[in-house]
């Protein structure tokens, strides 16, 4: 298994506050990497660095190196929009556009120049199928996406991200706003998706990390404390702080 993303000595500041400190991590492809750690430890910040969504926040300063498929993503001349097309993102709160289900899915492909109804129809169906929601909403493609349940909305957002054929899917606590049944569906979905995609998922839920991830990275106060096989991390953590966190002694 080769690494699709490699991160070297990554530091990030919001103004003068350092949010990430010397992060070194390699993310293997076709696997699920879970990021765990207490609130405010920099998980979302790290995730947003990978597709350069942090660029949008004024006052952010980044040093170090992030390579995606061997290419330095901060190098001048990198097409940020193409990077974001390759590295898709699913947010904590389901955020479908206030338009029809169909238009939500077709938004990305249209943005990247795909026209023609047949082609788009095809992409919409494939993406919804990949996100395991086709059967539920195939009769409601013309309905406003805001009318779906929270769990459906989140799977719609996953489908929307898949529609632009990304290589990597970043998910920031995708189930934290959902009920247990919807959460179960998204977890199943994530496990199925790793055949085709690489997934990096932030989760607050330790069981979730155990259930679905292959690697786990434990963040604390902006540092990557420990990173390794999920099984190893949760059974024989090396660092005392990791042990304290996963046994629920703080967090």
């Amino acid at each position: 298994m080769s690494d699709i993303i490699t991160v070297k000595d990554l530091c990030l500041w919001y103004g003068s506050a350092q949010a990430l400190k010397d992060i070194n991590i390699n993310i293997p492809e076709h696997a699920i990497t879970a990021l765990i750690g207490p609130s405010g430890c920099g998980k979302s910040t790290f995730l947003k660095t990978l597709n350069r969504m942090n660029d949008l926040i004024p006052g952010v300063k980044i040093t170090g190196e992030v390579r995606y498929a061997g290419q330095d993503i901060f190098a001048p001349g990198v097409d940020v929009n193409m990077l974001r097309k390759d590295i898709g993102m699913v947010f904590q709160k389901p955020n479908p556009f206030p338009m029809s289900v169909y238009d939500n899915i077709a938004y990305g492909p249209r943005t990247h120049g795909i026209k023609g109804k047949a082609k788009l129809d095809d992409i919409v169906e494939r993406s919804l199928r990949d996100a395991a929601i086709w059967d539920e909403i195939k009769d409601r493609l013309k309905k406003n996406a805001l009318g779906l349940s929270g769990g459906q909305q989140q799977r719609l957002c996953i489908a929307r991200a898949l529609a632009v054929e990304p290589q990597v899917l970043l998910m920031d606590e995708p189930t934290s706003a959902l009920d247990p049944i919807s959460t179960g569906k998204i977890e199943e979905l994530a496990s199925a998706l790793k055949e085709k995609y690489t997934i990096v998922i932030v989760t607050h839920n330790m069981q979730q990390a155990v259930r679905i991830s292959d690697q786990t990275a434990f963040f604390l106060l902006g540092e990557l404390v420990e990173y390794g096989d999920t099984e190893t991390i949760f059974s024989v953590p090396v660092d005392k702080r990791t042990e304290d966190y996963i046994t629920g002694r703080f967090g």
Binding site: M53, N95, F97, Y107, H112, V164
Partner: protein, 317 residues
């Protein structure tokens, strides 16, 4: 608004929370407080009713004074007559020129002002650096505060001669001049209301679009603007209302002649038709002016209904 609040208070006593035990010392002052509250509610209600009363008074007055002339002239002849000659020997009272001028003038102002105002709003709400935004917003506020007679004056001194020399027409005081002045006058409302609508678009929508690889510009126009469309529609309708109701500035630049509308001809609007003859009018002529005001009023009511519709929709969205 006031009444239900009063009811709620009397249902559950704030001191006892509805229980039967009343602290006897507090009861007295509570009664006093309640009486004072009731008094204040009464004052609010009265003040609210003043507004409603004004609307009712104007409506009833306009209907009563506007109907007789229409009766005498005939509704069809009045609305669709092409000639207005109120002081001729055999006077004619057709207001189609005014109606069409008001409609064309407003449509022209919208066609010119909305694209400019809308794009300005998108830029200010989404793309402008804070300093630029501050300067432009200040300019927009100043524009909103300029009295219409000043617009008219500048239009008369700059625009009218300008049109005459650019288009080589005998008189620059024309529908075109009025359209340009109106377009500038409605800019502030269009910009401000559109900005409010655009700024209310949740950041999450824009993040989602950017994360799919859309550029910021694509994001503004394909996500933010559609999400704000009801508010933007409200801005346009507000502009329509301002344009159709404006009298002073258009009177000064439009030549004020009751022609059928044509871009380079002097024209007269519904508003200016009333304003320019009222002072010396009498008899049927005077009554007909009231009827014109009634027609104008109906237009405004219609626009208001549209505005409410869009505002309600944008709140729901």
């Amino acid at each position: 608004m006031c009444l239900p609040m009063k009811k709620r208070q009397s249902k559950i006593d704030p001191v006892t929370g509805g229980s039967d035990i009343r602290p006897p010392v507090l009861w007295d002052s509570l009664m006093k407080k309640q009486a004072f509250e009731n008094f204040i509610y009464g004052v609010f209600l009265l003040l609210g009713l003043i507004t409603v009363g004004c609307v009712l008074l104007i409506t009833v007055y306009l209907i009563i004074s506007g109907i007789p002339a229409i009766r005498e002239i005939g509704l069809f002849k009045f609305l669709f007559g092409k000639t207005w000659a109120s002081t001729a020997k055999t006077p004619q009272f057709g207001i189609l020129p005014f109606i069409l001028t008001s409609i064309y003038g407003t449509a022209g102002a919208i066609a010119l002002g909305v694209p400019i105002g809308f794009l300005t709003a998108v830029y200010l709400a989404k793309a402008a650096p804070p300093k630029v935004k501050a300067v432009v917003s200040a300019a927009v506020s100043v524009l909103a505060g300029i009295p219409s007679v000043v617009y008219g004056l500048v239009g008369m001194l700059v625009l009218v001669p300008g049109i005459r020399s650019i288009f080589h027409v005998p008189d620059g005081a024309s529908l075109l001049a009025a359209i340009v002045v109106l377009a500038v006058m409605i800019l502030p409302s269009i910009v401000n209301v559109s900005i409010t609508a655009l700024e209310a678009v949740p950041q999450e929508y824009e993040d989602a679009s950017l994360a799919l690889g859309a550029t910021p510009t694509e994001t503004y126009f394909r996500v933010s603007v559609p999400a704000a469309r009801s508010g933007i529609a409200a801005a346009v309708v507000l502009g329509v209302g301002r344009a159709i109701g404006e009298a002073m500035a258009v009177m000064m630049v439009s030549g004020n002649v009751a022609n059928m509308p044509s871009l380079f001809q002097s024209v007269r609007f519904l508003t200016t038709a009333v304003a320019s003859e009222m002072s010396y009018s009498s008899g049927l002529q005077r009554q007909a002016l009231f009827s014109i005001a009634l027609v104008l009023y109906l237009f405004i009511l219609l626009i208001n209904a549209a505005l409410n519709f869009f505002l309600k929709r944008s709140k729901e969205a």
